[in-house]
Symmetry: C2
Subunit: 228 residues, 2 copies
């Protein structure tokens, strides 16, 4: 139960903080867990709103990991074209017990070739993109395919984290963590996914992200070409 578990979160500029912190908050409560925020260097990385994320390890000095967990966010596009990061992911993934992601972190795993032939999920606005990398998109909050475990957008990282905590340390530990973090969610609105939200609002959010969607298409095309 308490054997050491090394968990690495690759971090990059403009990641979505909640993608990272949902599973971080769960995993840091696991007995024997050590958590690493890994980047090319130890310089602080800025996220939306001016929050600085400071890496605790580099690709070069990070220990062998038991679990890789990729957060997403706008910066996932840069991450998908960061050869040093993709090399690190492929190298570590070979020895990992679980290779995982939250939100568009799945696109970074995909760009590293690590989701080929796998069922996977990601942020609802990016779901269709997974097919460009040989993965099968699944519109679920958590998708498990072998040792690949992917979570949906942003806050799905909490559900994902608890589900993985149960795999690692047993259901009782996971339930104790859920109680500690008082995870009895009560959203004030029912607008958390495109099936629940008002169609006009879904359209408006898509429209607001149109320029970003075009950029995603370009990055995907380049990243998929590199994999061939």
């Amino acid at each position: 139960m308490s054997e050491p578990v090394r968990i690495g979160f690759p971090v990059f500029a403009d990641l979505t903080l909640q993608d990272l912190v949902g599973p971080f908050e769960v995993f840091c409560r696991l007995p024997g867990a050590s958590l690493h925020l890994v980047a090319g260097a130890r310089d602080a990385l800025a996220t939306r709103g001016g929050f600085a994320v400071t890496p605790t390890a580099t690709y070069a000095d990070c220990p062998p990991l038991d679990i890789l967990c990729l957060p997403g966010g706008p910066g996932h596009l840069g991450a998908m074209e960061n050869a040093e990061l993709l090399d690190f992911l492929r190298r570590q993934a070979a020895g990992c017990r679980y290779v995982t992601s939250v939100c568009t972190g799945a696109m970074v795993l995909a760009a590293a070739g690590l989701l080929e032939g796998r069922r996977a999920t990601t942020h609802w606005m990016s779901l269709g993109r997974l097919a460009r990398f040989g993965a099968t998109p699944v519109a679920e909050r958590i998708v498990v395919d072998g040792n690949r475990v992917t979570g949906g957008g942003v806050t799905a990282g909490i559900d994902f984290g608890l589900a993985l905590a149960a795999e690692i340390a047993g259901e009782r530990h996971a339930k104790a963590i859920q109680l500690q973090i008082e995870y009895a969610p009560a959203p004030p609105f029912a607008s958390g996914d495109p099936r629940a939200a008002e169609p006009g609002l879904v359209a408006a959010v898509r429209e607001g992200a149109k320029g970003y969607a075009a950029l995603m298409d370009e990055v995907d095309a380049r990243a998929a070409a590199r994999l061939r």
Copy 2:
């Protein structure tokens, strides 16, 4: 709608990261919002699991805030006895549109005398402590009393953040943010509060925190005495 909103999160060593990041992730998506992480100095502060939180402002140079939002976590005990922080809170609260907290951040507001005569909530394990500071404990996920808005433990900060976002920018904006952060929670277990969790597990979690509970009693007694 897009008038500037200055939101300050006092930060301290050993805060619970999710307490801070839940509302941060929501508020950073509000039009016109500027977010400040405020401490006595700009040195990085360590949280559980080795995550460094870097303040972006100090008590001395923080601009006048529209919203104060106190995170909690084990470090709230130190914060309750930090005279410089308590002075900052009282000074800023006088001009704030909303004075708010997540989790045991409420105890820091209480220690500053800012919850006297108010209904409030906090982490379920600390709920009864609020009465020591003249507040009325309410076992709800979000409690609004005038301009005091308090959220329950840890993950309640997301629900709290969305509810406050609706107050500030309107329900449509809050719903758009909920969709962006895909907040359609699906906890893998029903163990998120002491009413839902197995009684044996609740007892075990309480037992594991017994030493901490004794420390809380001591700090509360000193902090309440200082208010008299």
